[in-house]
Amino acid sequence: MLDKPTFTHLPHTPGVGYKPQHFNDIISDAGSVGWLEVHAENYMGDGGRPLAQLRHLAEQFPISVHGVGLSIGGEGALDRDHLARLKHLVDWLNPASFSEHLAWSTHESAFFNDLLPLPYTDATLARVCAHINQVQDLLGRKMLLENPSSYLAFAESTWEEPAFLQEVARRTGCGLLLDVNNVFVSATNLDFSPQGYIDAYPLDLVGEVHLGGHDEDEDDHGKPLLIDSHGREVVDPVWALLDYTLAQSGPLPLLVEWDNDVPDWPTLEAEARRAASALANVTAEVAK
C-alpha cells in the first residue's frame, strides 16, 4: 500500500476527472478542485509515468477510482484477470471511493470500450447484484453504481430505473453514483421528467454526483437524441437539475467529467468553480 494520507471519503467539494495534461496545473494550483477521479483501467499498467503521477496526486488529493471496464451487467462471468488487476490497484491506492456502471461492455471475451444498455428485468437485477456482491467481497469495500445514459428502451423491461437501482443497493449494500447529465440525457431521449426521476431516486444512497457535457442529434422521427459525449461544458438545464437534486439531498461530492476534446486547465477549473457555487448555495439554504 502507498505511504500517503488516508482519505476515507470524498469531500463535499468539486472534483474533476483527471487528465495527464493537467498534472502540472493541478500540482501548482488546483483552485476550487478538492479531489480527483481516475479511470481504473488507465492505471493497470505495470509502472511508468501514469502510476508515478497517480502516486504523487494521491499524496495531496482524495482519489476516486472509477471503473469503465468491469462489465457488471454482462451475461457472462466477470473477467477474473480484470478483477485481480482491480484488486491490485485498489489495495495499492486505497482510494476514497470506487465506482462502476450499470452497464455491460464485454461479451465472450471481446471488450467494446463503451457502456452498453441493460433491460431492467428480474433476471438483470439478480445478475447485477451477484456481480456487485462478488466485487465488494473481493475488494473488501462498498462500491458505488452509476446510472447510465439511455438512447433506447427495452420492450422487456419491467422496472423503472430509480427503483431498479434502489433494489440493487438494498440487496447488495452498494451505494449509488448519480450522474445528473445522464438523467437529463435519458429523460430527453425517453420522454420522462428528469425532476420526476430525481424525486423517485433514493438520494440518501448517493455517494457522488457526476456532471458532464452531451452532444445533440435527432432520431428517425426528428426528436432530439442526446448523446453522452463528455466533450464540452455542462449545459444550463443540467446545472438546474443539479440544484434541484442538491436542494433535496444536501451537499455531495460533485465531479465534472470532460473526457473528449479535453480543454485547458482554466476552462475545466471554471466548471469546477460553477459546481462549487452550486454547493455553496445549498449549504447556505441548509444553514437558514
Binding site: 505495470d46 461479451h107 467494446f112 420492450a155
Partner: protein, 259 residues
C-alpha cells in the same frame, strides 16, 4: 410494460453484439423508443461509439503508421481490424497487439513491406511506457571492473527494455515521421533498442551485432560469451558503444559475477 398475449421480445447480449458490430444486421426487435416504435438510429449510437472509440485507440497507438498511410486509409483499416480483433481486455493502452501481423497479411499493403515492422516498433514503445519501474545500477559499478571481470559478468535488464529487429530501416522511418529535420531514410536493415531513461521511451538504432549481443545477454550469457556470439554475427561489433546505450538508457538493473 406491454400487455397482451405475446411477451415483449427479449434481447440478449449475443444478439445485441452481432447487430452492433455489423450494420448489415437489422436491429434487435426488442429495442424500442419511448413510444414503443423500433429503436432505429438510436441503436446506431452504440454502433458509432464502439467503432469510433476503437478506431481512435488504433490511431493513437500507431501514429507513425497513421502518417504513412494517411488518416482516412488508417481509419478504414482500423474499422476492419476492430471487427476481426476486438480488444480482449479493457486495458485499451495495450489494444492493437495483433495490428502489426494484421498489416503484414494485408495484400493491398504488400508493397509497403516495412509497415508491419514500424507498427511493431510503435507497439513496443507503448509496452516500454507502461513497463514496471526498476532501479538502474550506478554506471561506476561497471567502470570499477577489470576487463576480465567485465567479460565474466551477467546482467539483468529493466522491464522497459525492448528490442525490435527488422530488415527495413524502421528507426529512420520512425524518426523521419516524428522529428522535424530528421534525415530521409536510406535502404538497409535496422535493429532498434527502446530504453526508458525515465518516463519517456527512447528508440535508438543499434550498431551491427548489437541486437545479437543483447539477445544473448537476455538469454543469460555473460558479456564475454555474448560478445563471441555477436562477433560471429558481425565481426565489426562495437561492444563499448552498445554497452553505453544500455547504461545511458538505465536498462541495467543488476550485475552478477560468474562463479
Amino acid at each position: 410494460m406491454t400487455t397482451g398475449a405475446t411477451p415483449p421480445a427479449a434481447v440478449n447480449q449475443a444478439e445485441f453484439t452481432r447487430a452492433m458490430m455489423d450494420a448489415a444486421i437489422t436491429n434487435p426487435k426488442g429495442l424500442r423508443d419511448s413510444q414503443n416504435r423500433p429503436a432505429g438510429r438510436r441503436f446506431n449510437v452504440y454502433r458509432n461509439n464502439v467503432a469510433v472509440s476503437l478506431t481512435e485507440a488504433v490511431l493513437q497507438a500507431f501514429p507513425v503508421v497513421t502518417k504513412l498511410l494517411g488518416e482516412e486509409n488508417m481509419k478504414g483499416l482500423a474499422g476492419i481490424f476492430l471487427r476481426a480483433h476486438p480488444p480482449q481486455s479493457p486495458l485499451m493502452m495495450f489494444y492493437g497487439a495483433e495490428f502489426p501481423d494484421f498489416l503484414a497479411q494485408m495484400e493491398q499493403l504488400a508493397h509497403l513491406g516495412y509497415l508491419a515492422d514500424v507498427a511493431r516498433l510503435e507497439q513496443h514503445m507503448r509496452r516500454a511506457y507502461h513497463a514496471a519501474d526498476a532501479a538502474a545500477i550506478d554506471p561506476d559499478a561497471l567502470g570499477a571492473l577489470t576487463p576480465e571481470e567485465l567479460m565474466q559478468t551477467r546482467v539483468d535488464f529493466a522491464p522497459a527494455l525492448q528490442l525490435i529487429r527488422s530488415s527495413w530501416p524502421i528507426f529512420d522511418i520512425w524518426r523521419f515521421n516524428m522529428e522535424d529535420g530528421a534525415p530521409i531514410p536510406q535502404a538497409g536493415a535496422q535493429d532498434v533498442l527502446i530504453t526508458r531513461p525515465e518516463f519517456d521511451p527512447l528508440p535508438q538504432a543499434l550498431p551491427v551485432g548489437g541486437a545479437t549481443w543483447i539477445t544473448a545477454l537476455m538469454g543469460g550469457k555473460t558479456i564475454g560469451e555474448a560478445f563471441e556470439v555477436a562477433n560471429q554475427d558481425a565481426d565489426t561489433f562495437d561492444l563499448s558503444t552498445t554497452l553505453a546505450l544500455l547504461l545511458q538508457g538505465n536498462t541495467l538493473t543488476a550485475l552478477h559475477r560468474k562463479d
